[in-house]
Symmetry: C2
DNA sequence: GCAAAAGTGTTAGACCTACACCCATGA
DNA sequence: TCATGGGTGTAGGTCTAACACTTTTGC
């Protein structure tokens, strides 16, 4: 059956970012089927007949990785006619942020079917998924500068040093501790929990929380 | 023939912006067919089997309005399952910029099939096209602040007052003349043509041109 | 000479950047 | 007591924002 004119196979993909071993990593899944069988790729899948685009991204992510409740936003739609060697597939790419604190244990099963790959050292990826990751990284880095999106990589409670490290890793450059803290405080979007994070032979760190956990605002 | 699962009717739409009568306006076309027959809508149409998304946006714009050679970029993909009352249609929305100097005469035929509508006083639009226009306006306004996109609304040669007026209209606020000129000069992306624009009983204005006409760069 | 828009600099305050030391803890 | 990372303030420079008058032209 030929695909009728002006319909396309429609998919979504998601670049899930988190921080692991002090690097920005993206979640990859091994493709079970042709084309690119066995090759690493972004989680994603076909959009259901009656399913929203973001809903599809959320669903396929949950089905393929068990992850849910992540910050997620639409990134860009990739539709070069020949991006899939078989037939026309248009994919609406998204990116999502997983606080590293939620990494514990999740995704430890099926280790040869999924992996976290550093964005600056990706393996060969199926389709144009390398371009998607690159664009997502770029978008995330820009949004760090003019929005409060960085907090979406924090757990419920976090220290300012954690937050700073995440920013440094994504931006790929060291930040001044005092200036960073001044800036974060001036946003007025976090508050002290009153608790302390104790780890190692050193002074404990204050734990903060977001005032409005889901909110991402533009700044400046 | 039922549409097979996971294929969708795929379309593109374009919000063409220009400035008319000191207002930011968007180009609308009257829908010839159901659904929403006779209602104003954005130019656009179905993506061909072997056609890129941007190619489709460019083609449908040319076919429906005669416009070509405009700055154009992808905006966002709208895919709510019920955005089209008949069947699932996903549209990849774009926006484009038409320098007002190119308005002369173009589009003067078929006046009841096309119109320029002020973005802050749109008529009822088909589908979710009002949301698309709103998002495009917002994106354009943000990009004015951190990129050189504003020059894409200028003709080949332009005065700084023209440029300032365009910025003021899009941002919806007056700008300081001296500060604006200082900022534009500091971008180093325009040069004097040596010619002057003479109009009315007052001092002529210098005409400038872009050094790299197509280029849109991030600034700051 | 008058009306209308073009063109031009300076100053005060805000903001950003660079920078170094003491503190609290566990071992 | 030592090693480790947490926590803090200031000063200089840069950038931004506010502000008013002179110039050139056509009528």
């Amino acid at each position: 059956m030929p695909i009728p004119k002006a319909t396309a196979v429609l998919a979504t993909n998601v670049v899930v970012f988190t921080i692991r071993d002090e690097r920005l990593v993206a979640l990859l899944v091994r493709r079970p089927r042709k084309p690119f069988a066995g090759v690493w790729s972004l989680p994603g899948g076909l959009v259901g007949d009656d399913e929203g685009l973001e809903d599809c991204a959320v669903r396929t992510l949950r089905d393929q990785t068990g992850l849910k409740g992540l910050y997620l936003e639409q990134l860009y739609t990739f539709g070069n006619p020949d991006r899939d060697p078989r037939t026309r597939v248009v994919t609406v790419a998204h990116f999502a942020l997983l606080p590293p604190a939620r990494l514990n244990g999740e995704l430890d099963d099926l280790p040869d079917q999924r992996c976290w790959a550093p964005v600056d050292a990706l393996p060969d990826l199926a389709f144009d998924h390398d371009r998607i990751v690159a664009m997502a990284h770029q978008r995330l880095a820009s949004k760090l500068e003019y929005s409060t999106i960085g907090f979406q990589l924090m757990g419920e409670r976090f220290t300012l040093s954690e937050l700073q490290q995440v920013h440094e890793i994504i931006l790929g450059e060291p930040l001044d501790k005092r200036n960073f803290r001044k800036r974060v405080r001036s946003l007025h979007c976090i508050e002290e929990t009153g608790d302390w994070y104790r780890a190692g032979n050193h002074r404990p760190a204050r734990l903060y929380r977001l005032k409005q956990p889901g909110a991402v605002e533009y700044i400046k």
